[in-house]
Amino acid sequence: MSSPTFEFALLEQQLPGGSVRLVEAATGDSWIELKSHALRQACQILRDHQDCQFNVLSDLTAVDWFSPAGKKPVIADPRFEVVYHLLSLSRRQTLTLKVILPRPGGDELSKDAELPEIPSIADLWLAANWHEREAFDMFGIRFKGHPDLRRILCPEDWEGYPLRKDYEFPLEYHGIRGR
């Protein structure tokens, strides 16, 4: 994929200073990094601007960069990334957006109040509704303004967020032995 320099220039011009950054990768995809407060405005521009027309949200997911001690070396700070993959049907273009979130310390059973928070874009792309629920279910990221933020793949009363790197499988669930 070519580097999204055009989209970056457009966003940098329209958004408050310092909230957008272009990361050019030598191999693989390059991406645009956003501060979470600028996310909704940036998405609106990318969707509606005449020269962008990213009318499809292909994918929304999260990445946990935490590395439990004693395994592989820590490459990045413990953090979450929320990754958005956009697609423009008319321009046949794809674009990757990222928002970096702080990771709450350690324990996957942390209370809901401590969950990292990011604005929801479920009203901009209807596809984001289920994708955000999935990211909430798997990573415990709270999407502020989501119409119906419930677990989607795990049962309602499941504890913990399975795709976090420090997730531990529960010892028991409704009398069924785990582990």
């Binding site: 693989g28 990754v83 993959h85 794809t94």
Partner: protein, 416 residues
């Protein structure tokens, strides 16, 4: 019959209450373990709440602990009706991350198996959809044809459903030279059973036989008055809604958006198909019955039927390329080595490919180890299913299978 002076008494007499009805997870029309909670008033459905997650096995988590070739079998079990396409999507993603290109011979083999699998998947989708609407014959026909494709794929890789045939770097085995003609094909075409035939010739023999059968399906379903009545004008998904919901594949094209990743996707994927001529069937269709509206059940079904024909076109061209020696016939040319210890670069790649159900996306992040840091599978059925609450508002209870079936979902892909 009692006479009522006041008409309102009759109305009160047949008054219905709102009721919550569970549809699935065991009902045959829910296509795997999908539970729909319906809020109904009499026969009218006011709200549909889908519940997923019955098949959830956290394949993405497992992917963080396995090297890419080891994770390929997990992609099989997501869309178990089009496993070749799933293998291909993931393998291409890893190859793109590694900046690797499969040899030309492997690319041609990939087109062969992916398109055969697409036909098999659409035939089953078509048959099962007939079954949803109460017509049993197309289901048996679809299975008869699909069986021969499974025989052919079994000759290639030994498996009938979960192939793990396309791997990073190429395909696991070369195409077989000569095979005993599959029993089903021998019976249907009148060839002597036990005769040997080259694999590519067997594919052509099958296509020659399948071609005229497509008309049977159109007689049985597409033009059938009952079928049209139960599908046309129902479950209409507008172009704008389809795009906003991220729908893909036949659902998107049935809503009138001409977009197919085999033509419009990433270079690494389109290069497989650039040699071939084929059309992208998109609604509206000129020969559609009068009742049909763009984006309804009938359009989605018809797009799949036309895609079978287009896949057959691609297969014939691929067979020509193969037999005239359009690619190197080097026996070892079907793959380049990819070891389990091969380190993935610290980079990330997101790639979507056109599976029979829509755009299947894989997202792989490497960080210098052989196992990726994150393996994400974004499934097409997940987005396609999310429109169901929208489509099923205010329809009759009996129309729910018709709408759900037209989306052609596979739950293994949704729950992953």
């Amino acid at each position: 019959m009692p006479q009522f002076a006041d008409q309102r008494i009759i109305e009160l007499d047949v008054r219905t209450d709102e009721m919550l009805v569970n549809m699935g997870p065991q009902h045959p029309s829910t296509h795997g373990v999908l539970r729909l909670v319906l809020r109904t008033d009499g026969e009218i459905v006011h709200e549909v709440i889908p519940h997923l997650g019955y098949l959830h096995r956290c394949a993405e988590k497992i992917g963080e602990h396995l090297a890419p070739p080891q994770w390929v079998p997990y992609t099989d079990r997501m869309d178990y009706l089009a496993a070749m396409n799933m293998n291909l999507g993931f393998s291409l993603t890893v190859e793109k991350l590694m900046s690797q290109v499969a040899p030309p011979k492997a690319q041609l083999i990939r087109v062969f198996v992916a398109e055969l699998n697409r036909i098999a998947s659409h035939l089953l989708g078509m048959g099962a959809y007939g079954l949803d609407l109460g017509s049993f014959t197309p289901f048996l026909y679809g299975f008869r044809e699909r069986e021969i494709i499974l025989d052919l794929l079994e000759e290639v890789c030994g498996a009938r459903l979960t192939y793990s045939y396309v791997t990073p770097g190429g395909v696991t085995h070369d195409l077989p030279e000569a095979i005993p003609i599959p029993p089903g094909l021998a019976m249907l075409t009148g060839r002597p059973a036990g005769a040997t035939i080259s694999w590519v010739d067997a594919v052509i023999l099958f296509l020659d036989w399948l071609g005229p059968r497509i008309d049977d399906y159109h007689t049985l379903l597409t033009e059938n008055h009952i079928f049209v009545q139960r599908t046309a004008g129902l479950g209409v998904l507008t172009r704008e809604k389809a795009i906003s919901y991220g729908c893909s594949g036949p659902v998107l094209r049935g809503s009138g958006v001409e977009f197919d990743l085999r033509r419009h996707g990433d270079k690494i994927y389109t290069s497989l198909y650039e040699k071939f001529e084929f059309d992208i069937p998109t609604a509206p269709f000129r020969n559609a019955p009068r009742e049909v509206i763009v984006g309804d059940n009938w359009c989605r079904f018809y797009v799949r039927m036309l895609e079978v024909t287009q896949s057959m076109r691609i297969l014939r061209q691929a067979a020509d390329l193969w037999t005239i020696g359009g690619v190197s016939q080097d026996p070892a040319g079907h793959k380049v080595p990819y070891r389990l210890t091969t380190k993935l670069p610290a980079a990330e790649v997101y790639l979507e490919t056109e599976c029979p159900r829509g755009q299947m996306g894989f997202y792989v992040i490497g960080n210098g180890a052989a196992e990726p840091l994150r393996t994400r599978a974004k499934s097409s059925s997940f987005c396609n299913l999310s429109v169901i609450s929208e489509l099923c508002q205010g329809v009759l209870l009996a129309d729910i299978p018709s709408i759900a079936g037209s989306l052609d979902i596979v739950m293994g892909e949704i729950d992953r």
